[in-house]
Symmetry: C2
C-alpha cells in the first residue's frame, strides 16, 4: 500500500508545525489561527489525499461505532437476511457491522468473539450455538454489552430477542389438527438448543391437548452434520410403511427445503396424500407444486429490535430485555381447511 499521508507530511508541505495542522483538521482553536493558513492546510490535505486515522480517533473517544455480529452460517438464508436487516438498522445510527460465522462450533464462536473484542467493537449481537453458556456468562461478568438473537439459554439472564418457538409450533400443530389431520409427523434437528427443544415441546403439547396419542415413529430428529440425507430418509420413513402420517411439520426452512424434494420424488399429492406446514418460508417453495402453509418468522422485527436494545445498552448496560416474538400463521394450499 502507498504510504499514507501523515499530519507531518502536510506540515512540511505548508511549512507549519504538525500541531497546527492537527488543530485545523480537527476543527480546534481555529479562531486563533489565521484563515489563510487554515485554508492552505486544508487544500494541501486534500491534494495529498489525507485520510483521518479512525483508529487513532477511536482511542480518544473510546468508541469505535462498530458492532460485532456472530451468525451460525452466513450462507444460510436466515443468517444472511438477518445480517442485511441489522446492517440497515445499524447504518441509520452510523454503526458499521462486522459479521462472521461460528459454523455451529463453540470454539469457532469463541475465537470470533475474541477477535471482535480485541478490535474493540462497542457491543455484540450473537446467534449462539450449543455449548456457549459458559462463554456468554464470562462475557457478562466482563461487562461486555451483547444481545442474543433467535436462540438463548433459559438459565442465563441475558438480553435476547427470539421467536416464541413453543407458541409458534403449538399454533402450527393445532392448525393441522383443526384441518382434520391426526397422524402428524414432525422433522426437527437433534440438539439440546432450547429454541429447538421448545419446538418439539409445542408439537407434543398440542397433540396431548387434543387427546392424540403420540407415536415415537412420528418424530424425526436429524443430525446437523448429515441433515440432507437424514431429512430424505425421515420423509421416506414417515410416508412409507403401513401407517404413513397424514401431515408433516417441518421445524425450519432448511428442513423443508430438503424435505419437499423427496415428497416431490415420491409423487405425493399435497395435501391429499400428505399435508405440509413449515416454520419460516423461502422463495424456493414457490417452485414446489403446491403453495406451502407456514409460520412467519418475524425477521425484520427480530433484527431491528436486537440492534436497538444493543445500542441502548452500550452507554449504560444496566437493564436486561428479553423478548419473545409471535409467529404468524400463513395458510396456503398445502394444509386443507375443513
Amino acid at each position: 500500500m502507498a504510504k499514507k499521508t501523515s499530519l507531518k507530511d502536510i506540515a512540511q508541505e505548508v511549512g507549519v508545525s504538525t500541531a497546527l495542522v492537527s488543530y485545523v483538521l480537527n476543527n480546534k482553536k481555529e479562531n486563533k489561527i489565521s484563515k489563510q493558513v487554515a485554508q492552505k492546510i486544508r487544500a494541501v490535505a486534500k491534494a495529498l489525499n489525507y485520510r483521518p486515522n479512525q483508529i487513532a480517533k477511536s482511542l480518544k473517544t473510546n468508541k469505535t461505532f462498530t458492532l460485532g455480529l456472530v451468525v451460525a452460517d452466513i450462507s444460510n438464508p436466515f443468517s444472511s437476511s438477518l445480517t442485511r436487516i441489522i446492517e440497515d438498522e445499524a447504518d441509520q445510527q452510523q454503526y458499521t457491522v462486522l459479521v462472521g460465522s461460528s459454523d455451529e462450533q463453540p470454539q469457532k464462536a469463541r475465537k470470533l468473539i475474541e477477535t471482535l473484542l480485541n478490535r474493540q467493537v462497542d457491543g455484540l449481537l450473537i446467534v449462539p450455538t450449543e455449548g456457549m453458556e459458559k462463554q456468554l456468562a464470562d462475557l457478562q461478568k466482563q461487562g461486555v454489552p451483547f444481545v442474543l438473537i433467535d436462540r438463548y439459554f433459559p438459565d442465563l439472564k441475558t438480553n435476547y430477542v427470539a421467536l416464541d418457538n413453543y407458541g409458534a409450533i403449538y399454533k402450527a400443530t393445532q392448525h393441522l389438527i383443526d384441518s382434520g389431520y391426526r397422524r402428524i409427523g414432525m422433522i426437527t434437528f437433534q440438539t439440546t438448543l432450547y429454541t429447538i427443544t421448545e419446538r418439539k415441546r409445542g408439537y407434543l403439547e398440542a397433540l396431548k391437548a387434543n387427546n392424540i396419542t403420540f407415536s415415537k415413529s412420528w418424530l424425526k430428529e436429524v443430525r446437523r452434520a448429515t441433515y440432507k440425507t437424514d431429512i430424505e430418509k425421515a420423509v421416506r420413513e414417515l410416508l412409507g410403511g403401513k401407517n404413513p402420517v397424514e401431515a408433516i411439520l417441518f421445524a425450519s426452512n432448511t428442513l423443508a427445503l430438503f424435505g419437499l424434494k423427496p415428497i416431490k420424488e415420491l409423487q405425493k399429492r399435497v395435501p391429499d396424500d400428505v399435508a405440509i406446514i413449515t416454520l419460516d418460508q423461502a422463495d424456493a417453495y414457490d417452485l414446489f407444486h403446491t403453495p406451502v402453509t407456514y409460520i412467519r418468522q418475524p425477521l425484520p422485527e427480530m433484527g431491528q429490535l436486537a440492534t436497538r436494545i444493543l445500542l441502548e445498552s452500550i452507554p449504560k448496560n444496566n437493564a436486561i430485555t428479553q423478548t419473545n416474538l409471535d409467529g404468524e400463521l400463513v395458510i396456503r394450499a398445502s394444509t386443507r381447511s375443513t
Copy 2:
C-alpha cells in the same frame, strides 16, 4: 460497558511502574525483569480480565489484519455464499473480514468504502456496481490494494477475478442449439455492467455462428428495481403468442428462481414444451418438476483466488492480476439431448 482494565490498573495492583507491566505483557526485555514480578503481573492481568488493545497495537504495526468486502446484497445467495468462502480463506491467514452491502448503489458503495478505509482495513474485495469506475480509479491512484470480484470494467486496469461470461453463455446457447432448439429466448438484466452485457453478446454471437436469425422479441431485459414482476411478464411473453420460443436461457440464478414459477403455473412441460438452461444454480431448483441444466459458477475458486491475490498485493501492490474463470456445463433433464 464496564471500564476496561488498563496497564495502569495492573501496575497499581502489583505496585510496579506501568512501563514494567507493558514490557512484561508485550514480552519485551523480560530477561532484565525478575521472574517473580513477571509472574505476578501476568496473574493480576488474568484476574482483572486484561484485554490487549488491538487498536493501539495496530497503530504500531500499521496492519490491522482486516479485509473489507463490499458485496451487492448480502441477502442474495450468490453474495452470502461468496462471503462465506472469503471468510474461510481469510481466516486461514488470520484475517478478519468486514462485510457490507452496496445495494447496487454507487453512492452507498462510496460511503461503505470510506468507512472501511477510515477503519484502516489492509485491503478491499469489491463486487462493484454500475457507475463505480471513477471511484475505483481514485482508489488506485491512492494506492489502496483491492481486487474486484465477479464484475469488472474492461477500461480499468485493476486486479479482478470473474467468470468468462461471454464464454459461459456462448456454451449454454450452443448446447441448446446442439440439442435441436432454434427459437431460443434469453432473460437477462437491463444494465450497462460489462459482466451482463458480455452474457448478451455470448448469446447473440452463438446464434449468429449457427446461422439462426435473431428476433428482437426473444431477448428480455428486466429492470433490477422491478425484476420479480418483469420476469413473470417476460416468461409469459416468450411462451405466449403465435411463435413461442422453444427454449429459455436465464442469465442468473435469481432470474431463474423467479422465472421457473410462471413456467410451473402455465403448466408447461420441460423440456417438451420449453427447454430451460440457467447460469448458476440453487438448491431451490430441486423443488421444480424437472432437474435444470446449468452453467456452474466457480464460486469457491473465485472467492479463494481473489482473497489470495489481495493478500499478496497488500505488502507490495505492484502487479495486476486479471483472471477469467471457465463455467462448466452441467446437463440435466431440462434440455433434451438429440
